[in-house]
């Protein structure tokens, strides 16, 4: 049976199509203002990529911040559950996941069957999320996707002391005025975010081998620092953004079956 998972995030909408639990296609698009439209587009694109039509899809599960606005007759699943399910499917031995998205950050601990044991979430404050990094990238005039690699060129430690994204922006601007090297500022920014995520992970005593997912998992600078800080092996999947949608698609199969 073909199943679909759609993860409607605050910044990106992801769709995954599975055939008997094997990924046949996926799609990642910006969410924008019209959520229904974003969901339809992501689904159509994923169907196109797989060369199948909507009628072939047996079951759909939606997750993410905008899951209630799905235009389809679909079921819902929590982001926490989908993260756990998606990670376990790819890495059967892992017992925890760190999901760093556009407007929130989540850590989940689960057992070998994917049952959630504990989780912690920051969705109140931009610090420790993708939008914080975007704001800093803008201030430093670098592309968000290049931040991580650039920060690895840093030669000295500097500290960004502000936790708040708004205050950190002014702090970074004053660092630029003082002609501090871009690389070092970037590393300082990543350190600040990493310590927030580390604090969240500590709240549920997350340890051992972990998987990092979400769009920000692609930031090598952040993952490197997080690895040192947590003293854990961190795995980043090839497509870290689609893990939630993958979990949703797996749940779609289970619920139907």
């Amino acid at each position: 049976m073909i199943t679909a998972g759609i993860d409607v995030g605050s910044l990106a909408t992801k769709a995954v199509l599975l055939n008997e639990e094997k990924i046949i296609s996926h799609e990642v698009l910006g969410t924008g203002i019209d959520i229904e439209e974003a969901v339809r587009k992501a689904m159509d694109q994923a169907l196109d990529n797989a060369g199948i039509s909507f009628e072939d899809v047996g079951s759909i599960v939606c997750t993410g911040a905008g899951k209630k606005k799905s235009p389809y007759e679909s079921e819902e699943a929590t982001e926490v559950m989908c993260d756990a399910r998606g990670v376990l499917h790819l890495y059967p031995k892992v017992k925890g996941v760190i999901d760093i998205g556009g407007e929130n950050c989540r850590v989940v601990k689960f057992d070998h069957e994917g049952n959630v044991i504990d989780f912690a979430l920051n969705d109140k404050c931009a610090s420790g999320t993708g939008i914080f990094l975007d704001a800093m990238a803008k201030a430093l005039r670098v592309k968000p996707e290049e931040m991580g690699a650039l920060s690895l060129q840093s030669t000295q430690d500097i500290e960004v002391t502000s936790m708040c994204a708004v205050f950190a922006e002014s702090e970074v601007v004053s660092m630029i005025h003082r002609k501090m090297p871009k690389y070092d500022i970037l590393k300082g920014i990543h350190k600040s975010i990493a310590s927030r995520i580390y604090g969240l992970a500590n709240r549920i005593l997350l340890e051992g081998e972990l998987v990092v997912v979400g769009g920000i998992a692609k930031n090598i600078g952040l993952v490197t620092i997080l690895k040192e800080l947590m003293n854990s092996e961190l795995i980043v999947p090839e497509e870290p953004e689609i893990i939630g949608a993958l979990g949703a698609a797996l749940l779609a199969g289970e619920r139907k079956g």
Binding site: S10, I33, E103, K124, C125, A126, S127, I131, F132, A135, M163, C164, A165, V166, F167, S170, S174, H177, R178
Partner: protein, 269 residues
């Protein structure tokens, strides 16, 4: 006796000159990237207005987050202490002070002499500071000094903005605008949310006694009115709420000199 106070805040530099117990002059300027330069600029302006030079100042106290880098200061004192002192100078019966600046917010309790007995502070999050209003002002294209009155002229009462973080509130506001909500209604929601945060902070130090609001936010009548409603107290606001810290610093400078003079009298050589 001529004393002065300089208050280098995150967004504004303030200075004030006191002759005995009378305010001679004061000035406010935006804080630049170099805090000691900002201190110099505001002090020069204030001196010029009073027709004085730096040599005429007998003692100068600096305060504010940039207080340690004021090159011509005789002593630096924390802004919490200075705000209580300044508020007490204007309103001798004050026991509760709210000072909201650009990047922080303080709730202060003081005794009948203006001495601090307790305080609570937020300097971690922009949502409870003046900066949040600046961001809303830019977003809703309403000048800062008109926000308060606009926020009281509403068509429909919205719930306070639900996002804690200002960064997220930005998207919330854009959503409202997209739906065609009138900007005054959104402004009201922003003021309401800020007043809620202030109320929580003030509760931590205890709400009772005569109440003073100082700092830039005191100029926003929309926020002030909503705070008054929540705390159930009338707010006393002086003619220029942003100079209260600098005034407190100048009053401290005078008291320090008076103490020195007394000591000299006691032990004549």
């Amino acid at each position: 006796m001529i004393t002065a106070g300089v208050d280098v805040g995150s967004l504004t530099g303030k200075s004030l000159i006191l002759k005995d117990n009378e305010i001679l002059s004061w000035s406010l300027i935006p804080t630049g990237p170099d805090s000691s330069e900002t201190a110099k600029e505001t002090m020069d302006k204030t001196l010029k207005d009073a027709g004085l030079s730096l040599d005429d100042i007998d003692y100068l106290v600096s305060t504010g987050y940039g207080r340690v880098v004021v090159p011509f200061s005789d002593k630096n004192i924390t802004e919490i202490t200075c705000h209580a002192k300044g508020a007490h100078w204007f309103f001798p019966t004050v026991h509760l002070i709210l000072d909201m600046g650009g990047q922080d917010c303080k709730g202060i309790r003081c005794d009948e002499t203006g001495k601090v007995t307790n305080f609570a502070m937020n300097d971690k999050c922009a949502a409870g500071a003046g900066r949040s209003m600046e961001i809303m002002s830019e977003l809703l294209e309403t000048p800062l000094n008109e926000m308060g009155t606009s926020s009281l002229d509403i068509k429909k009462r919205l719930a306070p903005l639900s996002s804690t973080c200002v960064v997220f509130a930005r998207s919330e506001v854009l959503g409202y605008l997209h739906e065609g909500t009138h900007k005054n209604d959104i402004l009201a929601g922003a003021c309401e949310a800020l007043a809620d945060r202030v109320y929580t902070l003030l509760k931590r130090v205890g709400i009772e006694g005569d109440f003073v609001i100082s700092g830039g936010i005191a100029k926003n009548v929309g926020v002030v009115k909503r705070i008054e409603e929540k705390v159930g107290l009338k707010a006393n606001i002086c003619f220029e709420p942003q100079i209260v810290g600098a005034l407190g610093a100048a009053v401290f400078a005078r008291e320090i000199l008076e103490k020195k003079a007394k000591r000299k009298k006691k032990r004549p050589r």
